[in-house]
């Protein structure tokens, strides 16, 4: 290192900046001692050098520092204590509050004091709760009056059904059966004649007359089936084509077409034999006895081997028990009578008014 009067200034600056090594710094100091004006220059540089490291303005580092737990602060600690007591904090938040409280005794005491404000549960009972209770109704129990109503409605519906069945269905579908004998003069069976077996013209003396009045083969078969006891008649129809044909022919001409009937008779088709045979079978099956007093050979007396009192009644083709019908109608009567709180209306003629229907009790039940 060669310091001279031509290059000493740069060495002085490096010396001030502590950029020189110890040997070089010593050389600069030795050179400055040789020349008083250079020493004075060096001293002036050293005077303006900043050397007070302690003269630093301290700032509040708390605003710069990163908090490990930012949820709880001094400002919100009280509010969080209330929420802690209210149970409104999550487990993590609760732990944060508890942790924060451990920072000082005051914080711990504050949290404890707030926890003491939580009301303990007290068992207080309302006296006589029966005053508040309402009586339970069993929804399964149907009031008696409702049952009566339902029974009455069912009875009326049953009556309507059976009557309309007879009126509308039986008449069209199931013709009556009447065997008319002695048709030599081509007296044709009457169409759709009402079944009058048994016919109670006199007590214990029933004249049984069976009339065939079907319009086609199917109806003829149906007619035979309708008379439950006349199984033999059905056999005749099925097994004897001639007789069947004859009978059907007669049946088909039951609109008083006498001329056709005569023609058939002249052709050798013995309709009388078929009808007579049929009548005999029916008589045997039904315990009919030939009544010699009657002109119609197909008229039979029914031997009454059953109980004196016949409890059957017929509505169309349906055989009903009189006693049961009586009971049913009586019930309906009483139900409607109960509702109106008076005896059922049954006038002197024995007419019972049930809803919109009039039932003639004197004719039906006797």
């Amino acid at each position: 290192m060669n310091i001279n009067l031509h290059n000493y200034e740069s060495y002085l600056l490096q010396y001030i900046d502590n950029e020189l090594s110890a040997v070089e710094a010593a050389a600069v100091e030795a050179f400055a001692k040789q020349y008083p004006h250079i020493q004075k220059e060096l001293d002036n540089f050293l005077a303006v050098k900043l050397t007070d490291a302690a003269n630093i303005i301290n700032i509040d580092k708390s605003t710069l520092l990163k908090q490990e737990n930012t949820f709880v602060t001094e400002a919100n600690f009280e509010a969080l204590c209330c929420q802690y007591v209210d149970g409104a904090l999550t487990p993590v938040e609760k732990a944060a509050v508890e942790t924060y409280a451990t920072n000082s005794n005051e914080l711990t005491a504050m949290l404890t004091q707030f926890m003491a404000t939580k009301l303990p549960l007290e068992a207080i009972t309302f006296p006589n709760k029966d005053l508040l209770l309402k009586k339970e109704r069993n929804s399964k129990v149907i009031p008696l009056f409702a049952w009566q109503k339902m029974a009455a409605a069912a009875a009326v519906v049953g009556i309507i059904f059976s009557v309309s069945y007879n009126v509308f269905y039986n008449q069209k579908q199931v013709p009556t059966v009447e065997i008319v004998s002695n048709t030599a003069t081509a007296q044709l069976p009457k169409a759709n004649t009402e079944i009058i077996v048994p016919n109670t013209a006199e007590k214990n003396t029933n004249v049984g007359v069976v009339t065939v009045a079907a319009t086609n083969k199917k109806q003829w078969k149906n007619a035979a089936i309708v008379i439950e006891k006349n199984k033999a008649a059905t056999d005749i129809v099925e097994n004897s084509t001639k007789e069947n044909y004859a009978t059907n022919t007669i049946i088909n001409t039951n609109n008083n077409n006498n001329e056709k009937a005569e023609t058939l008779a002249n052709n050798g088709i013995n309709s009388q034999n078929a009808l007579s045979k049929f009548a005999d079978i029916i008589a045997e099956e039904n315990n009919f006895e030939k009544n010699s007093n009657l002109t119609a050979t197909a008229s039979y007396n029914i031997i009454d081997t059953d109980d004196e009192v016949d409890n059957s009644m017929y509505i169309g083709a349906i055989q009903l028990n009189k006693n049961k019908m009586k009971g049913l109608l009586k019930k309906a009567k009483s139900l409607f009578g109960v509702k109106k709180n008076k005896q059922p209306d049954e006038d002197a003629n024995g007419l019972l008014q049930v809803a919109n229907f009039e039932i003639n009790t004197s004719k039906t039940l006797k």
Binding site: A116, T117, L121, L133, K134, R137
Partner: protein, 161 residues
């Protein structure tokens, strides 16, 4: 709501509602009247109230009837000592509880109701708000104030437990 469901509500919530009202009114007969009125209203409106919401409905109705009752009777002064009043609930309670009860009496009606709905029934802020027709933030703030009053009362020198 069927009769059975209604009666189930009676058994489940009658005591809680009664406790809530009697702690507020501090009068047994008045509290019984309010509770009966609340359940009567529930019965009348049983078709409109769900079984699941009947508890909050009961508390809402009971609270409103209690407020109406208080306004009607203008109870301004708080009785501090009920020991001679035979109509109030008499029971031996520890000192802390008694102090707490006294502190509770220092609150106003809204603050007291808030604390009881929170501590006795465990309702959330939102649910309490619906019952008392307050917003959730209002509930929080009012409840906070109530707790501070209770705490300060408990830690005051004359009441240190």
């Amino acid at each position: 709501m069927t009769e059975r469901e209604y009666n189930t509500c009676v058994h489940a919530y009658a005591d809680g509602v009664y406790r809530f009202i009697i702690k507020n009114l501090r009068h047994e007969e008045d509290a019984k009247d309010v509770v009966q009125s609340a359940f009567e209203k529930l019965w009348v409106n049983r078709d409109k109230v769900d079984n699941a919401t009947c508890k909050s409905y009961l508390f809402t109705v009971a609270y409103n009837k209690m407020i109406d009752h208080l306004r009607k009777h203008k109870r301004v002064e708080l009785k501090d000592d009920f020991s001679n009043d035979t109509r109030t609930v008499q029971q031996q309670i520890p000192q802390l509880k008694k102090t707490l009860q006294d502190a509770l009496n220092k609150l106003n009606d809204i603050q007291r109701s808030l604390v009881m709905l929170k501590d006795y029934e465990g309702y959330s802020y939102e649910e309490i708000g619906k019952i008392m027709e307050l917003s959730e933030s209002q509930v929080k703030v009012y409840l906070h104030r109530a707790r501070v009053i209770l705490k300060n009362y408990l830690v005051s020198p004359e009441n240190v437990v």
